[in-house]
């Protein structure tokens, strides 16, 4: 079947992809990357530990936000890929690969497992999809828990750190968490600026219009699901390295999905910045209320529910709508060439 595009004049319009001051953004981003890379040598150990957990959650939440905020898929089973990523790292490490090298392979393993899973899950919509993701996570956890090589239900330590000193192990663990977060955020940002990003935004806004504009909605969704599986797998891998111990009840804990969901909702669904800001609030709350047990989660959950009902664009979304500021612009600005 042939398409014959109408004759149109070329170079009608010029396109700009950045807003006001990309220079400043770049300088700030560069400085931040520098400081965060040097964090183990700059900050006290306790803060570095907090940062590590922060980066693990940021990676997961960014992936969850990509699925829910752009493709409308509310997964409460992303812990499946966190767990599979962790256990994949354990497996590769047991087979003699360095755990650090295993990170990308673990992510890839998760992506491969996600492919057949989409064919099953995509038969369901809305809430049924959500709970089915959970069934998948539950099933994966049970199966992993019965494998003797992985230590069954009690888990086992991740090997492969014998050549390093304790300080090195801690620093490398931090750097792994940080680099995975950096790659996930930068990758998500670049993805959203790409053709696929435009497609996802259109699906987010109106699925029917998107289809009739030629968007292959299901395959876009599938791509996102697979990417999110890989991203959460990488997060699970660095979680395993940080511990360094894997256990079904920790890696496959639904608490991960809850935290991903809460931070994305509070920060703002459908924005790159939202989950990061949500995570900052989450850890600020956790640190300041840490002597009060689970109260920080109760407060944070209530805050998330409140925001979902009364401020569905989230804190960053509301802020951006009001002040028209974009730290990480993904849009297109046109200027006609005729004038």
């Amino acid at each position: 079947m042939s398409i014959s595009p109408r004759e149109i004049g070329s170079d009608l319009v010029s396109i700009r992809r950045t807003t006001h001051s990309p220079g400043i953004t770049l300088v700030v981003a560069g400085a931040m990357i520098g400081v965060l890379t040097g964090a183990p040598w700059i900050f006290p150990a306790s803060f570095v530990t907090v940062l590590m957990n922060f980066f693990i959650l940021v990676s997961m939440a960014t992936m969850w936000n990509l699925m829910a905020g752009y493709a409308g898929m509310v997964s409460i089973g992303q812990q499946a890929f966190v767990g599979l990523g962790g256990y994949a790292t354990l497996y590769f490490a047991l087979k003699g690969m360095s755990p650090y090298v295993a990170i990308p392979f673990s992510a890839l393993t998760c992506a491969l497992i996600a492919i057949p899973v989409t064919y099953l899950l995509f038969r369901l919509r809305g809430g049924y999809f959500s709970i089915a993701t959970w069934v998948v996570a539950d099933t994966a956890g049970i199966i992993i828990g019965t494998i003797a090589l992985f230590g069954g239900g009690t888990g086992r330590p991740v090997p492969g750190f014998t050549n390093f000193s304790p300080t090195q192990i801690t620093n490398f663990a931090y750097l792994s968490c940080w680099f995975v977060a950096l790659v996930v955020i930068a990758g998500t940002y670049l993805l959203l600026r790409s053709r696929l990003g435009l497609v996802l935004s259109s699906v987010r806004d109106n699925e029917i219009s998107a289809r009739s504009s030629g968007v292959k909605v299901t395959s876009a969704r599938r791509t996102v699901f697979i990417i999110a599986a890989a991203g959460c797998g990488a997060a699970g891998a660095v979680l395993a390295i940080a511990q360094p111990y894997v256990q079904v009840s920790n890696e496959f804990n639904i608490q991960w999905a809850a935290e991903m969901l809460f931070v994305s909702m509070i920060g703002g669904l459908g924005t790159v910045e939202g989950p990061i800001i949500g995570c900052v609030i989450f850890f600020a709350l956790q640190q300041s209320l840490q002597s009060y047990g689970a109260w920080y989660l109760i407060i944070f959950g209530s805050l998330a529910v409140t925001i979902a009902i009364w401020q569905p664009r989230g804190l960053w979304g509301a802020f951006r709508d009001k002040f028209h500021i974009e730290l990480l612009p993904v849009g297109y600005w046109t200027r006609s060439k005729k004038q």
Binding site: L120, R125, G126, D138, G145, A294
Partner: protein
């Protein structure tokens, strides 16, 4: 004979799952809301029963007389406030809100009652069982729970088909606008459906507490069972839910027979197979998905 026992045990536990699931199914049918905090409400009911009975000097067995109506009221109020607000936004929000609620409830329970397991001890004849044949045993307790489930489902069915309010509930589920044009206040009916849902799950929660130990985090797994029963049986069919619950129970028994670790896996596998082959469930219509 072993297989016969597996099926018997499956049926017994299946009744319990159906009791758990019917409220979930009703709320989805009437207002298209999947209450992800459904399982947690059962656990809360268990805790309320444990907490209340010493104060009221009533036997644990009769705690449901207080707890079930109380949960009906709570259900009505939660629906008219939080859930209705999120329905007014969109289906997406109802998922986020009920999941948020679920996590908040679990952690609140953890904070208040620690992670220690609780039981509702009834210390009576119900702990005995009946052995009609050598390896078949039927616990009276499970039999009672199954009987309660069947009675609840039958009453619900009767209520929905024979009473004015019941027909209003079905009318709202069929066509919300047309129901309003017939004088139905759909928001009130949503509240009534939620009240029934909460009341039945409270009953299920107490039954659960009498059968086994429970902890603040037990809600999740029970929601999973309820959901699996609903999907296997077919969305929107009450008796389908019972059949789904029984099928789930049998699948779990078969799993546990192969390896005790595979109990839950058996149910999940059946669920995934149904999903792959017949996503509308055994008794569901295709359009309801």
């Amino acid at each position: 004979m072993i297989w016969f026992n597996l099926i018997i045990q499956g049926i017994l536990v299946g009744g319990f799952y159906a009791l758990f699931a019917c409220g979930l199914s009703l709320m989805f049918g009437v207002m298209r809301v999947i209450n992800l905090a459904h399982g947690d409400m059962a656990v809360v009911a268990g805790y309320v029963a444990v907490m209340l009975t010493p104060h009221f000097h009533i036997p644990m067995l009769w705690s449901f007389l207080v707890v079930v109506p109380l949960f009906g009221l709570v259900g009505y109020l939660v629906q008219r406030t939080l859930i209705q607000k999120s329905i007014d936004r969109d289906p997406f929000t109802t998922l986020l809100v009920t999941f948020g609620l679920s996590v908040v409830i679990e952690n609140a329970l953890l904070q208040l009652y620690t992670a220690n397991a609780q039981t509702i001890s009834i210390g009576s004849i119900l702990y005995k069982s009946w052995h009609p044949a050598s390896i078949i045993y039927i616990s009276y307790q499970s039999l009672v729970v199954l009987a309660i489930a069947v009675v609840v489902l039958a009453s619900l069915q009767l209520f929905l088909s024979k009473t004015g309010t019941g027909r209003q509930i079905r009318a709202v589920a069929d066509d919300q606008e047309a129901a309003q044009l017939s004088g139905t206040n759909y928001r009130h009916i949503f509240g009534v459906a939620a009240a029934i849902s909460f009341a039945t799950v409270a009953l299920a929660g107490i039954a659960y507490g009498m059968t086994t130990q429970f902890a603040p985090t037990s809600g999740g797994i029970n929601l999973l069972f309820a959901f699996e029963a609903v999907v296997i049986g077919g969305i929107g069919s009450l008796w389908g839910t019972l059949v789904g619950g029984i099928a789930l129970g049998i699948a779990q028994q078969i799993g546990s027979h192969i390896n005790p670790q595979y109990t839950l896996l058996g149910g999940n596998v059946l669920f995934l197979i149904v999903l792959a082959i017949r996503p509308q469930g055994l008794f569901g219509k295709k359009s309801s998905l």
